[in-house]
Amino acid sequence: MRDKILNAIGMALLGVCFAVSLVRIAARQFSRDEQGGDHVTIRFAHWQLENGVRSTLDQIAAEYMKLHPGVKVVQLPIPESIYTNWLVTQLVGETAPDLIQIGIGMTDERIARFFLPLDDLASNPNPYNRGTSLEDLPLRATLFDGMESGYVSTLLEYYGVPISGASVRMYYNLELLEQITGAGTPPETYEELVSLAKETQAYAQRKGVPLVPIAGSRYNAPMIMQRLFSSQTQKLVERLNPPGIFGEDLIRRADDYLDGRWSLDSEEVRSGFDLMHEVGQYMQPGFIQLQRDDATLSFVQGRALMISTGSWDATSIRQQASFRIGVSTIPFPSTESRVYGRYLLGELSEAGTNGGVVFGITRGSPQADVAKDFLRFLASQRMNQLWTDESGWIPAVVGIKVTPDVAPFLPVTVGYLPGIYPSIAAGGTFPSLNRLVGINLHRLVGATGDTGAFINAIKPGYRDALIHDLRRNHRTALDISQRSDTQFGGLAWTALAQPNDVKAAARMNAFMQSASMNDRKLYRIRHSLEKAEVQ
């Protein structure tokens, strides 16, 4: 009999709970309809879940709502891991928020179909800058990257406005640094970094504490290793470039590899892998299997002296750490160094760094003009000052005073171009190479890691992976060229139909340049593919 009563109570409880929820939902639904009338709600979505960002954006939204009582501004942060899924469905479903952060999961086809061109925003002054030195400058000129980060070259239009920037730096536990070296100054060169790391290991041994010089993980280790590798290949790129070519050109590097002008056995490349191996010895063993938050946690807990990560983690780390933090650029080997000085030119230039946290406006938004006004408000000098002071991130508007905490993250304009990276490109241009290098990295940087073993492991598959990636790039370039044929038809016909329309003629002219730039790339890839397949 006892279990009968238990069951009865259970079912009753469930029934009551269910009824209460229903009443709450009905009530909320009713209240939402009733006050929905005079109210305009604009919503903006982004994937920056780091500490400090959400609270700062809420503050800015509150400021805007104070200025515009009739408008309600809602922030919608989405975790990075599912941002693409969320984005595709929201756009297709026409239920997308009015402002969306452009970047992850974005293709130019999606931008063209679902986002509004912002040329009018870019070329007119920002009303919210009234009373400041930027008062009559067009919005584009008030941003440090000239709104380049919001420009889509295949569409010849601005589609986004940046409100921040980003850079990769080395973070130090200053108190620990003072205990170990007596002085609180971060190392200037890679050689100083290595000697500091050795001192740290000795200190940890002496004290018997679980301390590691550099916190490593699948996410953080490549940040320092890729840059160090690219230092050793700076002169290689200069040597490979034919007369008349300066700087980095990934198709040419791939072609050089296929023609044998450089290989994994080139001395610069071996030296780059040696450098990656050496720096890997100062990270916690088995760091390959750790993820971003494991490394950050071990640094914040004082179990690692240094960590290399982006400026976006600065506020999270400062809030979690109980010690003072030092920040410096990732130290490069010095040109005098006997071992690593021969092949490098010097620190990397960040002059061309583009803005970050770029917001675009969705075509389907019924209150696009209010959304545009809020975007101008976000990108105004006063609000960007609030943004950098509160969130600790880099500002995007020019002429903003940054706090001493943010200063070390500002882009460094003095410096050279990077050489090639372990999988030639830093980003996603050669995904198969990225995968090949990634799944063999443990042979290079592990405790028993060795450059020779690593090279022998990736050499057999390197050429095929490169050809596979070149085919993929060829496919993408061909897609763009075929798509541009119909675009060109539309632009040319419109321009020729009204000869005196200067703007249409200029758009056709600009489009012909961007289309033939893409065609040049298409033919160069095809040419090196045909050469490679012949061999």
Partner: protein, 297 residues
């Protein structure tokens, strides 16, 4: 199993719970049935002009529908056919049949006796189809159409856009250096016949970059890029790269004044560029070679 005591009407507990949950669930649903998805998609273009603009903005299916549906006078029929074919190249999902249908329309428009705009566009698109839609591509047929365009419609921007395509097709072929040298010479004459600034610019850019890629001739590469720059390049990526190439080639050719001029033009216009510092050092080295470290040549 014994049969239960009579028909089990007396187990109310389950029946009430199940019925209640189901009924109330339906009620809850009603308040939600009308989702508040309120985004109004892009408005459908209705006029021909709107269709061409839609085609220029990636909205290929909308443009194609408008071209098919638009009510027009007979004089605009050829424009409608052209529009249909141009958008058919990219109507989603893309199929081989669509490309073939587009080609048939272009062929009918091109063979008509009056050489109006649709005919010119059709010849251009037939060349493009043989150049990069056919698998494997047929460069010879494409060349005949490009040449036909240049002969019959000199001075037409679309016709002259084909010239730069011919350069790429001819030079980036799998041929011996000698054959490529002959083709370079053959193509040199082409430049003179071009009348539009855009045609000349794209032609010279392709020729200049080809001379660099194949390291055929520094001097010719320099001249072509200078000719291209004379036509004013408005795309910053192309302009900055061209200025640097001109400066580098001029320096290698010993024309230091030209090199210095272009280094300075780049440095003043492109302050925010990762190459800025390196180009400053190269300009410094040009002026007084002694303070340049050995390996920065």
């Amino acid at each position: 199993m014994k049969t239960p005591r009579g028909l089990p009407f007396n187990r109310p507990r389950y029946q009430i719970a199940a019925a209640a949950a189901l009924a109330v669930g339906l009620v809850a649903g009603w308040s939600h049935i009308k989702p508040s998805g309120d985004g109004a998609g892009t408005k459908r273009p209705t006029t021909l002009e709107g269709a061409w603009q839609a085609a220029a903005a990636f909205l290929f299916n909308d443009a194609n529908n408008t071209f098919n549906a638009a009510r027009l006078e007979p004089s605009q029929e050829r424009e409608r056919e052209l529009g249909k074919a141009v958008t058919l190249l990219n109507v989603q999902p893309r199929t081989v049949e669509n490309i073939a249908k587009a080609r048939r329309i272009f062929e009918t428009l091109s063979s008509g006796e009056d050489h109006d705009e649709p005919a010119i566009f059709s010849d251009y698109y037939l060349a493009r189809i043989y150049e990069r839609y056919e698998t494997p591509p047929e460069p010879r047929k494409a060349r005949t159409y490009y040449l036909k365009l240049l002969e019959k419609h000199a001075g037409h921007p679309v016709a002259e856009f084909g010239a730069s395509a011919m350069v790429l097709m001819a030079l980036y072929d799998n041929i011996t250096p000698e054959e490529r040298g002959r083709r370079f010479a053959g193509l040199e004459a082409l430049g003179a016949s071009l009348e539009t600034s855009s045609g000349r610019r794209d032609y010279h850019l392709n020729m200049g970059n080809a001379y660099i890629d194949f390291e055929a001739s520094r001097e010719k590469a320099l001249n072509h890029l200078l000719a291209a720059d004379a036509e004013t390049i408005s795309l910053w990526q192309v302009e900055s790269a061209t200025w640097i190439s001109i400066a580098e080639l001029a320096r290698d050719e010993g024309r230091d004044d030209l090199a210095e001029a272009y280094y300075k033009r780049f440095l003043s216009k492109y302050r925010r560029d990762n190459r800025h510092y390196s180009i400053e050092r190269r300009l410094g080295a040009l002026k007084n070679p002694k303070n340049m470290t050995a390996d920065e040549r």
